[in-house]
């Protein structure tokens, strides 16, 4: 790059004042859209993402339907105003790829065999991006699925881990993502103790990957608790009114 970017302060804190294994402040709200069957909104640091779910509904055109299970269709999209410079609203190569990656990460959780010949549409709209949008989008999308009443094996939470200046970091922001040495998004399901998304960009040693993975699992467990709280909050609102 040739630019000199300082990612850590003198006291070892990160550019936004966090410690190495600290998550950005997270706010989750479920059931934010009345027109969608299920929806969720997440703010993770400066990321602002909304997810909506429609379906299961009849798969059209009919030839795309599967006789034994439903299809998941996922659309990850960044709004033109989500970045500092206007982003073209047309789906980019990255967005098309991420849509596929997120669909693959959600598919193991959905009990697709209960709704043969149907389709579930998942929309993930990034309103403001600051690194780690695929992870935050996935965290919101699974809540939108649960909000829609779609049977799931469990919830999945996602968080990126990575390396910058030789240090392993949790929940990378845009700066750390761009100028760091590696970035590894992980989606983890605590119920099944399984990983549904694991990607890596950059270089890390085997030991570093192991350390990063363990940090990611701890972080996603924290996020899973927040997801559960948000879902309970959504459905217990009615009780407080009583």
């Amino acid at each position: 790059m040739g630019e000199s970017i300082t990612l850590f302060s003198e006291d070892g804190k990160r550019s936004d004042g966090r410690s190495l294994d600290e998550l950005r402040p997270i706010r989750i709200k479920v059931g934010v859209l009345s027109n969608a069957q299920g929806s969720a909104y997440i703010e993770q640091g400066r990321n602002k993402i909304i997810a909506a779910v429609y379906g299961p509904k009849e798969a059209l055109p009919k030839h795309i339907s599967l006789p034994d299970r439903c299809i998941l269709r996922c659309r990850y999209h960044m709004a033109p105003f989500s970045t500092t410079e206007r982003k073209s609203p047309a789906p980019s190569r990255r967005e098309i790829e991420l849509s596929m990656v997120l669909r693959n990460a959600l598919e193991p959780l959905v009990m697709t065999w209960l709704f043969p010949r149907t389709v579930i549409d998942i929309f993930i709209e990034v309103l403001q991006a600051d690194g780690g949008t695929r992870c935050a989008g996935l965290t919101a999308a699974v809540l939108a699925l649960a909000d829609a009443g779609i049977p799931l094996k469990g919830l999945v939470a996602a968080c990126a881990v990575g390396k910058a200046d030789g240090k392993i970091l949790v929940d990378l922001n845009d700066l750390e993502d761009k100028y760091g040495e590696a970035d590894m998004p992980v989606a983890y399901n605590p119920t099944l103790d399984g990983i549904t998304l694991l990607q890596m960009d950059g270089i890390m040693s085997k030991e570093e990957v192991e350390q990063a993975l363990s940090l990611a699992i701890t972080a996603t467990q924290k996020m899973h608790k927040m997801q559960v709280d948000a879902l309970r909050e959504r459905f217990s609102v009615q009780r407080r009114e009583v």
């Binding site: 299920g38 299961p56 149907t118």
Partner: protein
């Protein structure tokens, strides 16, 4: 005192993947699956244990057609041998010409779309439902057929049993309280057989209350109070 009792009777809300029982003592019921020796919930709902069986009563769900269910459908599209009917389910139902009660239909004279237009509301019975094909409905039977007047309301399919109540108790409470006849489909749609908007609005309010508070103790009393014009 009543508040405490009410709180005690409020069961905790479980979320997908949450532990609801042990396979040594329980068998999985509705919205529950088994993972080695653990029983886990698949939807957001409330745990109900009936003997060994563990169910999660979903707070939001879809209608899964079952043979013998009374459903309120809306004709979506006339086809060549019958009609496609929206039954408020992920699956579109099919009403074949043979299940239409008219004895003689001359297709040379009447087009299918003229017999039942798109948008027609009907009360049907699920005749066939399997995972391999679309559910089939029939209009042949007592109380079945096209609905010519009334208002259409809806409720989450999982709340229909609560709306009907034990042996139809809740339904008769509403019918008596609002002095109106209701047809409730298992698919979460109901018809209010009345032209009086005040009655319809009252029933709508009651339905909204059942949908929101079906899991809270003392619902029948609150419904009765609402129907009597007192704020519960």
């Amino acid at each position: 005192m009543r508040g405490n009792e009410q709180q005690q009777r409020q069961r905790p809300i479980v979320v997908p993947g949450e532990y609801v029982g042990d396979s040594k003592f329980h068998i999985p019921g509705l919205n529950v699956y088994r993972l080695s020796d653990r029983m886990l919930a698949t939807t957001v709902g409330l745990v109900r244990i009936d003997g060994k069986r563990v169910d999660v009563v979903a707070l939001k769900s879809f209608y899964q057609p079952k043979v013998g269910d009374l459903v309120v459908g809306i004709v979506k599209e006339p086809g060549t041998a019958g009609w496609t009917v929206d039954i408020n389910s992920p699956f579109l139902a099919f009403l074949p010409l043979s299940e239409y009660p008219e004895k003689r239909i001359r297709l040379s004279r009447d087009s299918i779309g003229r017999i039942l237009e798109a948008g027609t509301v009907l009360v049907g019975l699920i005749k066939d439902a399997s995972i391999f094909s679309s559910p089939v409905i029939t209009l042949k039977g007592k109380g079945l057929g096209v609905v010519s007047n009334g208002f259409l309301l809806s409720i989450t399919a999982s709340k229909v049993p609560r709306l009907i109540g034990k042996k139809g108790s809740m339904l008769s409470t509403i019918e008596k309280g609002a002095n109106v006849k209701l047809t409730v489909g298992q698919n979460g749609r109901l018809i209010v057989h009345s032209e009086d908007l005040n009655v319809v609005m009252k029933v709508k309010e009651v339905i909204g209350m059942i949908e929101k508070e079906s899991h809270v103790y003392g619902l029948t009393e609150r419904v009765e109070a609402l129907l009597a014009g007192r704020r519960p």
